[in-house]
């Protein structure tokens, strides 16, 4: 093999580089179809970062769950439940943010933990367990709100404008910072904590992990609980940005979160992946949607293009990975 070929192969061997390729392609598309320079304005990028933040928070929990070999369909419903509960507490009952935020987070944690309990204790398949929690949480949200949006009668409490604000001279949205904090936490868990090591072990081979002394049940319970917690934080941000609690909000967001994780190159089989990859996946999806929106593509075209690009990116990553492994065997 030529030196150039080997260099290329060694670059592509890194999953990070493989994930960056689709992002680079999307960015080039943006530079070509820039809409009179709108793509080059920082405001466009700030808006994109705000738009992916709530989905990204869900993707943080989803990354943990997917690495554990599971899936969490309930995140979008837990988000809606959290949004409704947050609005109900702050707007409906005038409870201060200092009390409402921890309470909502606790409810999210509990909702996630119940998924975890079903998966870890009762051996229900994650898809089925979280599907059940998804339906239940959506119902609970609707019950709490009476099927209506919970809005403020007068002035909005300060916490709403605080979350839906911009900092650093109006150059960064607060929700994006919240997302960044969630991402850093997830990265810490995966790469610095024992829980992270256990997580890869459980996702790789649950039985082997159990036999080597990993507390599998506790790990799974924690992972789903964390996913619920991130979904609750996302719900608070969603309510603040919408200025009300909408029981119908976030429908289908779980699929966006899964797409972000998968676009980054994390395998649904579990045991592999990282937060960095999900971050790149989130940026790829966010930029793609931003560019389609800037160019005012029709919904039909957007759906088809998004689907096609997800497939193309995943096939590309699989092929490179497969070739990579083939070379390793051969050499």
């Amino acid at each position: 093999m030529s030196r150039g070929g080997r260099l290329r192969a060694s670059i592509l061997r890194s999953p990070l580089a493989r994930a960056l390729a689709p992002l680079a392609i999307v960015l080039v598309l943006g530079m070509v179809f820039h809409q009179d320079g709108a793509f080059f304005a920082w405001d466009t990028h700030r808006a994109m970062l705000r738009e992916i933040s709530v989905h990204g928070m869900l993707a943080c929990g989803m990354t943990l769950v997917i690495i554990s070999g599971g899936i969490d369909l309930a995140v979008s419903s837990v988000l809606a439940l959290a949004a409704v509960l947050f609005a109900w507490l702050t707007l409906g009952h005038g409870i201060a943010a200092i009390g409402a935020v921890p309470l909502v987070m606790a409810v999210g944690l509990a909702a996630g933990a119940s998924s975890g309990l079903l998966v870890a204790r009762f051996y229900i398949q994650p898809f089925v367990a979280t599907l059940a929690v998804m339906v239940f949480a959506r119902g609970l949200g609707k019950q709490l709100s009476g099927g209506r949006k919970i809005a403020s009668a007068g002035e909005l409490p300060e916490i709403f404008s605080l979350i839906d604000a911009k900092v650093l001279g109006g150059n960064l949205s607060v929700v994006t910072i919240v997302f960044a904090v969630c991402a850093v936490l997830t990265w810490l868990i995966l790469s610095r904590l024992r829980l992270g090591r256990y997580l890869y072990a459980v996702g790789g081979n649950r039985e082997a992990a159990r036999l080597s002394g990993v507390p599998v049940r506790r790990v799974l319970l924690t992972v789903y609980a964390l996913s619920g917690l991130f979904a609750a934080i996302a719900g608070i941000c969603q309510a603040a940005q919408e200025t009300h609690g909408d029981p119908e909000t976030g429908m289908g967001y779980e699929l966006d979160a899964i797409a972000m994780v998968v676009l980054g190159g994390t395998s649904l089989a579990g045991g592999r992946g990282s937060m960095q990859l999900t971050l790149i996946g989130a940026l790829t999806l966010g930029y793609l949607q931003k560019i389609l929106s800037l160019n005012a593509f029709s919904t039909e075209a957007r759906l088809m293009l998004t689907g096609a690009i997800i497939v193309a990116a995943v096939i590309f990553q699989k092929r490179v990975a497969a070739r990579d492994q083939g070379e390793e065997v051969g050499s």
């Binding site: 809409q35 009179d36 709108a38 304005a41 405001d43 466009t44 808006a47 738009e51 009476g146 099927g147 209506r148 949006k149 809005a151 839906d164 911009k166 969603q238 940005q241 919408e242 200025t243 909408d246 119908e248 909000t249 949607q289 931003k290 929106s293 800037l294 005012a296 029709s298 919904t299």
Partner: protein, 319 residues
């Protein structure tokens, strides 16, 4: 063996009971002691507008002790709604109010109920044929046209417009779009221009996203027209974040008391046009039908314009 006998015996007895019950139901007196039973089949209570429709029905029926209502929610599934209609007829209701999800799959069950002598009021979306008593609905195209005329008027025939559309694969989306363009009369007002349009699928977060793109690509925007209240609210939030909301007008459709009307009150929207649910009217018509009166087969509801000036008077009706 004896168990099977008991089972079948019970089955026969129960079906006999059910038959008795449904045959006797036709002779309800319609008094407070023996009220008329009305079945209300709603296609999807996931939408706030439909929650409002049920609310309007409930409020109108509250003052009438001679009416008793049974509510069903089909959760956006035509086949579920079909079986719910059949259940209601089985139960022996005196009158059916239905807001169907789709015309074709619900025409048959509605016709069957009508043929059995149950008067049927169809709300908002129509069914095929003529086997129902009264259709009550509003005209999306007409309301869109009023919104277009209003936009042309407050812009004095000159300005740049953003249109945030509902779902363009749905009839309300298509009609609110087509009507608006008619109302703008672009050939008569060369100064008006729709500079950006996008589907926001009736959803507020999507509307905000699309508006951000509009703001990024358009230096001047004078008016935003959204196909529903949440759409206009999302657009307002985007414009406010960009610090450009002051120079813009926001016009929406639906005027739900908890959404559009509240936004107008809060100075967020400049105007919203009511898309009436027909819930209250349905109860009025139901009473007439139950007392044996003949009614016009079609009842088209007018719209109402809500602006800051006329809020106190409860909006301005437009026929």
């Amino acid at each position: 063996m004896s168990l099977r006998f008991v089972f079948w015996g019970a089955f026969v007895a129960l079906s006999g009971l059910a038959a008795c019950k449904s045959s006797s139901s036709a002779k309800r007196a319609g008094t407070a002691e023996d009220p008329f039973v009305i079945g209300m089949s709603q296609c999807n209570l996931g939408e706030p507008w439909r929650v409002q429709m049920n609310e309007d029905i409930k409020r109108a029926a509250a003052g009438r002790p001679n009416l008793k209502l049974i509510y069903k929610d089909a959760q956006n599934d035509s086949l579920v709604q079909r079986s719910q209609v059949e259940e209601l007829v089985q139960q022996g209701i005196d009158l059916l109010i239905i807001s169907p999800k789709e015309a074709a799959p619900l025409t048959q069950p509605v016709a069957e109920a009508y043929d059995k002598g149950v008067p049927v009021i169809v709300l908002d979306r129509a069914v095929q044929g003529d086997k129902y008593s009264v259709f009550i609905g509003a005209d999306n195209k007409k309301i869109g046209r009023e919104a277009g005329k209003f936009a042309a008027r407050i812009l004095a025939g000159k300005g740049k417009i953003v249109e945030l559309k509902g779902l363009m694969t749905s009839t309300p989306g298509q009609d609110r779009h087509a009507g608006f363009r008619e109302g703008l009369e672009l050939d008569k007002h060369p100064g008006l221009e729709v500079v950006f349009e996008a589907d926001m699928q009736w959803l507020e977060p999507n509307a905000r996203k699309e508006m951000e793109s509009a703001l990024a690509t358009q230096k001047q925007i004078d008016l935003v027209y959204a196909h529903n209240d949440p759409g206009a609210h999302g657009a307002y939030l985007a414009a406010k974040e960009a610090g450009r909301e002051k120079g813009m007008k926001f016009v929406a459709i639906d005027a739900l008391p908890h959404e559009g009307v509240k936004y107008v009150q809060g100075g967020i929207l400049d105007a919203t046009f009511a898309y009436p649910t027909g819930g209250a009217e349905a109860i009025g018509v139901a009473e007439q039908l139950l007392s044996g009166k003949k009614m016009e087969k079609k009842m088209v509801l007018g719209t109402k314009l809500f602006t800051r000036e006329n809020l106190g008077k409860g909006g301005e009706p437009i026929e």
